[in-house]
Amino acid sequence: MSRMRLTLVAVGAVVLQTSIFTLFRFDGVAPELPILLAALAGYAAGAERGAWFGFGIGLLYDVLLPSPLGLAALTCAVVAWLVGVLTSGLMHPTWWTATVFGASMTALGVGLFAVAGEVFGQRYVSLDLLRIMAFVGLLSLILAPAASWLMRWCYGQDPNARTASG
C-alpha cells in the first residue's frame, strides 16, 4: 500500500512540477517539488527509506529535465538522506520543524544539483544560483506543510504526527 502511494505521489509530483509549476514562476524561479518531497520523505521515514524514495522521484524527474540523467536522482537521494540523519534525534518534532527542514534542505538541494551538474560538465553555478536557492526556499516554505502531510500519508503515518524512524 505504501509503495503504491509513493509511486502515485512521485508520478503526480513530477507531472505537476513539469507541467504546472514551471508556469507559476516567481521572478523566473519555479518551485522544486520533487526535491521538497524527497526532503520530507527523509523527515517522515528516516534516512534510508527517504533516500530510496528520493532516488526514485529524482530519476523520474531526470527523464523530463534537459540535464543529464541521474543528476536529480543523486540530489534527491542525498537531500533525503541528510534530512533523515539530521532529524533522527529530534525529540519533539512539530509541524514547523518539518516545514523549516523541508524548505531549507530543498534550497540546499538546488545548490547541490548545480554543483554536481558543474562536476559533470554543465554550467549551472553562477551568481544567480544564490537567488534561485533563496526563492526556491521561500516557495518551499509555502508548499512544505501540504507536502509533509502527503509524505506522512504515503508512509502510513498519522498525518498529524511525526515518528522518526531513521
Binding site: L23, L64, L65, P66
Partner: protein, 309 residues
C-alpha cells in the same frame, strides 16, 4: 553475533544510490543507447499527463504571469509598438527585396524551405527546471518526423535546434544559449564566422571567431546561417549586425548580432526536417571570403514569430 549498526546500513544505502546515479550520469553523457530508449518510453507515458495538466492550468498561469510580469509586459508592449511602426515603414521595400530573393532562389535551386520540409509546432512550455533557461518545449516529436539536431526557425529567423525528441514533444535549445554555436555568413563581406548565444542578453548573438580584423563589417548588415558543413542549412536569417569591436586576440572581429527572432516570446515555430546534408547538397563548404551565392531566405510565410501559423 555481531549486529549491524543502523548508521552503517544507512551509509551503505547512500553509497549504493550515489554510485548508481554516477553510473547513470556517465552512461547518459556517453550517449548510451538503451538508456535513451528507456527515457523516451517513460516520456511517452508521462507527456500525455503533462499535456492534460498543462492545458487545464493554462488560463490560470496566464493570469499569474499577467500579475507577476506586469512591468515586463508593459515594456514589451511599448517595444512592440515601436517595432511595428518601423516594420510598417520597411514593408514595401522588403516586399520588393523578397521578390528578388525568391527569383534568385528559384534560379539557384536553393529553395530548401519548401512547405514539405517544415513541421509547424506550438511552444507548450518553457524550461522544465531552474537550470535550463535557454530551452522551450514544443508539441511535436518523433511521430511528426522530428529528430535531434534539426534547426528550429520562425519567419524572423533562426531560433535554435532540437536537443531532445520524444514521441509527441521535443525540447528546443534556444539560439541565445551560451552553449549554442552556429556558423554565420555576413551579407556584406560574405565572410563566415562562428557565433554563440549571449545568455546575458536575450536578443544578441556574438560572432568572435573567423571574421578577420581587416574585414569590413557595417552596422545593420544581415547575417544568415552559413550552411556547408554546418548542421544548419544555408541562408536562414540570424539577425542584423548591431556593433563591431576587436576580439580578445586582436586578430579577429567581435561582431554583435541582434537576433531577428524574439526567443523570449515564442508561440509557434517551424522545424526544418530536411537533414542539413540534404539541404546543403551540391553546396560548397563555406569559404572564409570571396564570392558565394548561398543567400536564401525562407520563402514560405506560414509562420510568424509570436503569431499564429
Amino acid at each position: 553475533m555481531a549486529v549491524p549498526r543502523p548508521g552503517g546500513r544507512r551509509r551503505t544505502t547512500l553509497v549504493l544510490l550515489v554510485l548508481t546515479a554516477i553510473t547513470l550520469l556517465t552512461l547518459d553523457l556517453r550517449g548510451f543507447g538503451p538508456l535513451e530508449s528507456m527515457q523516451e518510453a517513460t516520456r511517452s507515458v508521462l507527456n500525455p499527463l503533462r499535456d492534460g495538466a498543462g492545458s487545464a492550468f493554462d488560463p490560470v498561469a496566464d493570469a499569474w504571469n499577467g500579475v507577476t510580469d506586469y512591468d515586463d509586459l508593459e515594456r514589451e508592449n511599448a517595444t512592440l509598438r515601436a517595432q511595428l511602426e518601423e516594420l510598417q515603414g520597411l514593408s514595401i521595400a522588403e516586399t520588393a527585396a523578397l521578390s528578388e530573393l525568391e527569383a534568385l532562389n528559384r534560379e539557384l535551386d536553393l529553395d530548401f524551405l519548401g512547405d514539405g520540409d517544415r513541421v509547424i509546432a506550438r511552444v507548450v512550455g518553457g524550461s522544465t527546471g531552474n537550470f535550463s533557461p535557454f530551452t522551450v518545449e514544443i508539441d511535436k516529436g518523433s511521430s511528426s518526423g522530428l529528430a535531434e539536431g534539426q534547426p528550429v526557425i520562425t519567419e524572423a529567423g533562426l531560433v535554435g535546434q532540437l536537443v531532445q525528441v520524444s514521441r509527441s514533444r521535443s525540447v528546443v535549445q534556444l539560439i541565445n544559449d551560451p552553449e549554442f554555436t552556429a556558423a554565420v555568413r555576413l551579407s556584406g563581406s560574405r565572410d563566415v564566422g562562428i557565433g554563440r548565444g549571449n545568455g546575458e542578453d536575450q536578443r544578441t548573438f556574438i560572432v568572435d571567431q573567423g571574421i578577420a580584423i581587416e574585414t569590413e563589417v557595417t552596422v545593420g548588415e544581415a547575417a544568415t546561417t552559413a550552411g556547408g558543413r554546418s548542421r544548419f542549412p544555408a541562408g536562414v536569417p540570424v539577425g542584423l549586425v548591431s556593433s563591431i569591436a576587436a576580439a580578445d586576440n586582436q586578430l579577429e572581429r567581435r561582431v554583435i548580432i541582434t537576433l531577428g527572432a524574439d526567443v523570449d516570446n515564442l508561440e509557434f515555430v517551424s522545424v526544418i526536417t530536411v537533414a542539413p546534408s540534404e539541404s546543403a547538397e551540391g553546396e560548397a563548404p563555406p569559404e572564409p571570403s570571396g564570392t558565394d551565392t548561398t543567400l536564401a531566405l525562407p520563402t514560405t510565410t506560414d509562420v510568424a514569430a509570436g503569431g499564429a501559423p
